[in-house]
Structure formats: C-alpha cells, structure tokens
Symmetry: D2
Subunit: 95 residues, 4 copies
C-alpha cells in the first residue's frame, strides 16, 4: 500500500525532518558535553513539538487522500481506514 504526501507538503516534510535530525544531533552534543539539564530538556521538548507538527501534516494528507479514496471505494474500505486512522491518533495521544 502506498502512502501519499501532497506535493507542496513533501518538501516541507523533508526539510523539517532534516532539521529535526540536526536538532537530535544537537541534543547528543549537549549530552556529551553535559550541557545544563534544563537546556537539554527544553531542546528535547522542542524536537517533540517539531515531530508532532510533521505528524499533523501527514495526518492531514492521509485523510485528504487515502481516507477520502477509501470512502469513494465503499463502506468496508472506509471503515477499515477510519479504524486505522483513529488508532494512529490514539498512539499519538497514548490513550
């Protein structure tokens, strides 16, 4: 099964993930150099936030494209997709 990222979003997602990778390496350096704990925590919180923003973009594209497509295919397909979608959101919320 193929995923789908909207044209304009794909580059945005890729750039953000590049930046997130750099932030993670920044956190590694902070840990290596024993930077002040609260600063490291603040940096980690900011990476978490950036990752969730990427997640929100992917979620939107997924609903716009895959869920919509499944609804056009018929009820059974759509039910499965919606089940899967809410499970993904729940994993984010960890409920």
């Amino acid at each position: 099964m193929r995923g789908y990222i909207k044209k304009g979003d794909k580059e945005k997602v890729q750039n953000r993930l590049k930046r997130i990778e750099g932030q993670v390496r920044g956190v590694q350096r902070m840990a290596d150099e024993e930077a002040y704990c609260v600063d490291v925590l603040t940096q980690i919180a900011s990476v978490v936030s950036a990752l969730e923003k990427v997640g929100a973009i992917l979620l939107k594209d997924h609903v716009e494209h895959c869920v919509r497509e499944s609804m056009e295919k018929g009820a059974a397909d759509a039910d499965e997709k919606i089940e899967e979608l809410t499970a993904a959101v729940e994993r984010f919320l960890r409920v």
Copy 2:
C-alpha cells in the same frame, strides 16, 4: 552552569539518542519513498516516545543532583531551581 548526567545514565542517554537519530533518518526515508502514511505516523509516535523517555532520565538526574545541590546551598537557590524545573516540565506538557 554545568549539567549533570549520572554515570550509568550517560551512556544510556547517548545510546538512546544515537538510536533516535537513526529512527529520524528512517522516517526521512519513509517520507522520501512515500511509505504508507499511518506507518510513518506510527514511527513518529515511537520517536516522540523515545525522546520523552530520555527527557525523563535527564529530569531524574537533574532533580537528584542539581536541585538537591541547590537545596543544600539555601532557600533562594532552591526556589530558582524549582521554578526552572516546573517550567521545564510544563514545556513538556505544553500547559
């Protein structure tokens, strides 16, 4: 101001951050190859979780060491450290 990571924890934190960096690159690949959106979301949720676990280790070491030290130094130091600590936790909870 220096941070502090407990001896046993330092290597653990470094290894986890290495693994997290790898996971972020994995997410990049998934986005490049347009892997199925829900799988990407699941992977992102798992990186977020791993980052917060590292945050929890740092938080513990910070209280054990820096906050404790500040309390030994006296009330004013400790108040500042506690203020800072709760602010860090709030940034995580985004309250």
Copy 3:
C-alpha cells in the same frame, strides 16, 4: 450544525463523562484534605487519560459520519471538514 455520536457510543460517552465528573470531584476532595501530592497527580493523570479516551471515540464517530458525509457532498465541503479535523487533533497534541 449537528454533531453525531454513534448509537452504541452515546451511552458509553455519557457514562464515561459521568465517571470523569466523579473523578474530578474526587480530586477536589483530595485537594481539600491535602492528600499526598503524588497521589493527586496520579489521579489527575488518570482523568486526563479518561478524557482523551472519550475524545478518541468522538473523533472516530466524527470521521465515520460527518467527514464521510462531507466527502459525499463534494470536494469543497470535504476540504473544510478535513481542515477542521486536523485542527482539532492539533489542539489535542498542542502542536
């Protein structure tokens, strides 16, 4: 605009919200009686979790019903609903 809660879910949601109200009153009592802070925090974390579970049920019903309906009506309606849906999820994640 009307909301929609699936038949089986409505009672479940109502029961859970009743229980959550009771839990909040329990937290009030704990605060009044100065119960041990960590126990109060644990209780609050459990209320948060219960609320998010209710949110997840509503979200699922919303996608199953309202978003689906909007997709049947046409692209413009659906776009608006999806925009609104991801905004709601983002408010939960506070991204």
Copy 4:
C-alpha cells in the same frame, strides 16, 4: 503521609477544580444534545489543559515542600521521593 499545597495555591487549585467540574458537566450537556463533534473535542482539549495546569501547580508545591523536606532528612528519603516524583511526571507524559 500528608500532602502539601502552598497557602496561596490551595484556593487557586480549588477554584480551578470547581471550574473544571463545571466544564466536564458542560461536555456532558454537549454530548447529550449532540453538539457538533469538533466543538466537543475542543472543549475536551481545554479541560485536559486546565487539569494539567492544576497538576503543574501541585508538582511545584510538591518539589518545594515534600522533596525539599526529604532532602533535609537525608539521602535515602530523598532518593525515594525523587524516584516517586519522576514516576509521577512519567505518568503524565505516559512514557
């Protein structure tokens, strides 16, 4: 074991919990009347946020008072309190 809420905070916490109880009843009414799902979700997200703000106040008072006291009593007491504190924060973050 007794908890501790700072004088100025106790009334604040009690008032906020009263308001949260009212908000939960508001959500019940919204569910009863099948208010628009996204509005209910928004309201739930706002209750979650309010609860976590109360949690942050209690956390601060707990560190300021109970953790500090434990540190004055000696290493063993403090270790236990710090363990307990990070566990409480982890329950909030669900890591």
